[in-house]
């Protein structure tokens, strides 16, 4: 039987139902083995729309109940529902994946920030220690110089030597300069 003959034999609501049966059976066949992750947004909307329309048809058409159409409409609705559910699951998986990626990114950023903070702290600590070391060396040098000058100036034999004249002057200047640079003592202490 060709399509034209079939169409001529099945006109009106009867014909529509028969054709719909045929289309839905085809859809059910096509829907076997589909991969839900490949559906687009449009497919999901179309399937949902088909589900709604078939449900309305089932409730609103007496003939659907009276004939075998009932089972095929159910089957078509199931196909539509399955496609929609698959799409929803796929969308949910996508959302979960995005959430996971965002969480990983956040963790990475937190780790990076923590590392940068640690590095900055380490650098500050190194700078402080370096500064402390420099200060200590300077003070040690100063102390050694003071000790040398004190022992030199307290030794009259050495002071009397002509070759020590330059050193004596430098030490005198140095100690005198140091005394001048010392902060003025409070009046109470002076008394």
């Amino acid at each position: 039987m060709n399509f034209e003959t079939k169409k001529a034999e099945t006109c009106g609501e009867e014909g529509n139902m028969t054709e719909l049966q045929h289309e839905l059976a085809g859809l059910e066949t096509t829907s076997r083995g589909v991969q839900p992750e490949k559906f687009g947004k449009k497919t999901g909307r179309r399937a949902a729309l088909l589900g709604v329309a078939l449900a309305a048809l089932f409730v609103g058409t007496e003939k659907a109940k009276a004939r075998d159409v009932e089972s095929i409409i159910y089957s078509g609705t199931n196909v539509a529902e399955r496609i929609v559910i698959m799409k929803q699951q796929r969308d949910m998986m996508k959302i979960q994946q995005k959430q996971m990626e965002a969480s990983i990114r956040m963790q990475e950023e937190q780790q990076k920030a923590a590392l940068e903070q640690q590095k900055a702290q380490q650098e500050a600590s190194e700078r402080y220690l370096e500064q402390q070391g420099k200060e200590q060396t300077r003070m040690q040098k100063e102390q050694a110089k003071q000790q040398f000058c004190s022992s030199l100036l307290n030794n009259p034999d050495l002071v009397a030597k002509p070759e020590m004249k330059g050193a004596v002057k430098r030490c005198t200047d140095y100690l005198f300069e140091e005394e001048r640079s010392e902060p003025a003592k409070p009046a109470k202490e002076k008394r």
């Binding site: 589909v34 991969q35 088909l50 329309a53």
Partner: protein, 51 residues
């Protein structure tokens, strides 16, 4: 007719069919739209298989 227009029309006619208030012409239109919807859906599914 765009997808959106078809969607609106199918919803409109579905309501009439559900309430048993659709005319014969509207019923024919409804079946026609359903067939085009199923046909597009089959194409979508076929394409998804080929991806």
């Amino acid at each position: 007719m765009t997808d959106e227009e078809r969607e609106d029309r199918v919803m409109e006619l579905s309501e009439k069919i559900y309430k048993k208030s659709a005319s014969a012409d509207e019923e024919d239109e409804f079946f026609g739209l359903l067939k085009s919807l199923i046909s597009d859906l089959r194409q979508d599914l076929d394409k998804s298989k080929m991806k």
